[in-house]
């Protein structure tokens, strides 16, 4: 065997040994555990309003009051904000003779709300905030409005907030 052949053979053996050694070095312990947090479901969002205001058969100078209640459908999480917009009165001769006021609470006195008005703090899911609404038919209302009708609308909008 020549010196060159011997050197090549030694080199080949060395490479084979390196491959074998390298393969063995990658063996390692390992363990994997899967976490299963599960499924989360989204809630829903919607509000309902109700009032006790009865403005049928008003006469000039009369003031009628009622309570507006805002609530949210159950069966979900989350808090909410709501905004009261300026009341509107349907067009007609009676419209100019009616004055609508909305108060911060069920008390029909004190400062009235200026619109748009938004509740300052997020409401709990089950909260049922209430406001007094008063409607006044002007004492100077002409007889021409007698028997006329009008529709009063108080726009209420709501916005979702996180549960906490």
């Amino acid at each position: 065997m020549t010196g060159r052949m011997r050197a090549l053979l030694v080199a080949a053996v060395a490479v084979v040994l390196l491959f074998v050694g390298g393969t063995a070095a990658y063996a390692a312990w390992s363990r994997t555990v899967s976490l299963a947090p599960g499924t989360v479901g989204a809630g829903d969002f919607g509000i309902t309003t109700a009032h006790t205001l009865n403005v049928a058969g008003m006469y000039p100078g009369e003031v009628r009051t009622g309570v507006l209640t805002v609530s949210r459908a159950p069966g979900t999480d989350g808090r909410w904000l709501y905004t009261l917009g300026a009341p509107t009165i349907s067009a007609g001769t009676l419209a100019g003779q009616l004055t609508v006021r909305v108060y911060p609470t069920t008390a029909c006195s004190g400062a009235v709300l200026t619109f748009p008005w938004t509740v300052a703090t997020p409401q709990a899911l089950t909260a049922t905030p209430q406001h007094c609404i008063s409607v006044t038919l002007a004492a100077t209302a002409p007889t021409t409005v007698q028997g006329q009708t009008a529709t009063i609308t108080v726009p209420v909008t709501a916005e979702n907030r996180s549960t906490y």
Partner: protein, 199 residues
């Protein structure tokens, strides 16, 4: 005397000399028995306890452990909500030269109709780091058992494995309402690192 006779006599003398020489090979000797020793393997183990869901704290930086969600299937989350699923992982690493990494899957993609409104992230951060444990990133711990107490080289510690779920607060209208998203198969892995010196 014939030549053949002389040769036979010479061979016999040689054999006799050799036999005499063999008799001089006797020598002192001694032996001892090695007592067998027990070799014990180290350990590398990872277990998890049952997890719990919590609402997030103000600012959604951590779970508010005073606000447990008893049944996640009954919760109805809304935009802006932040939840944490938290379990305790127990890591054991025993070995004179053992090095390992504990890692929680960093990227988690939920499935279901709610998935596109959810952001899911994970952390693996011990309250206190034991000797031999390094926080490489918020999802990766490097463990070097050789740095643990001699001679046991035993590191055993618990670490909260946390999955954070956020319902995008910018979700408009009623998008995603009444849908659901599944977060499953979040892998928590403990893996031995190749030794620094090949055997």
């Amino acid at each position: 005397m014939r030549k053949t006779t002389k040769g036979a006599i010479a061979v016999g003398a040689g054999v006799a000399l050799l036999l005499g020489g063999a008799g001089t090979l006797a020598a002192w000797s001694t032996s001892t028995t090695l007592t067998s020793q027990t070799v014990t393997a180290g350990d590398l183990n990872l277990t998890t306890a049952a997890g719990t869901w919590y609402w997030g704290n103000t600012g959604c930086t951590a779970a508010d452990t005073t606000k447990t969600i008893a049944a996640i299937a009954s919760a109805r989350i809304v935009p802006g909500d932040c939840l944490f699923y938290q379990t305790t992982a127990t890591v054991t690493a025993v070995g004179d030269n053992l090095k390992a990494e504990a890692e929680i899957q960093g990227t988690v993609t939920p499935t279901g109709g709610l998935a596109s409104y959810l952001t899911v992230s994970t952390t693996l951060v011990p309250t206190t780091l034991p000797t031999g444990v390094t926080q490489t990133s918020s999802t990766l711990l490097s463990i070097d058992a050789s740095a643990a107490t001699v001679p046991t080289h035993n590191i055993s510690f618990t670490v909260p494995a946390t999955v954070k779920v956020v319902f995008n607060s910018a979700t408009a209208n009623r998008d995603g309402a009444t849908t659901s998203g599944t977060i499953a198969g979040v892998a928590l892995t403990l893996k031995q690192k190749a030794p620094a010196v090949a055997p």
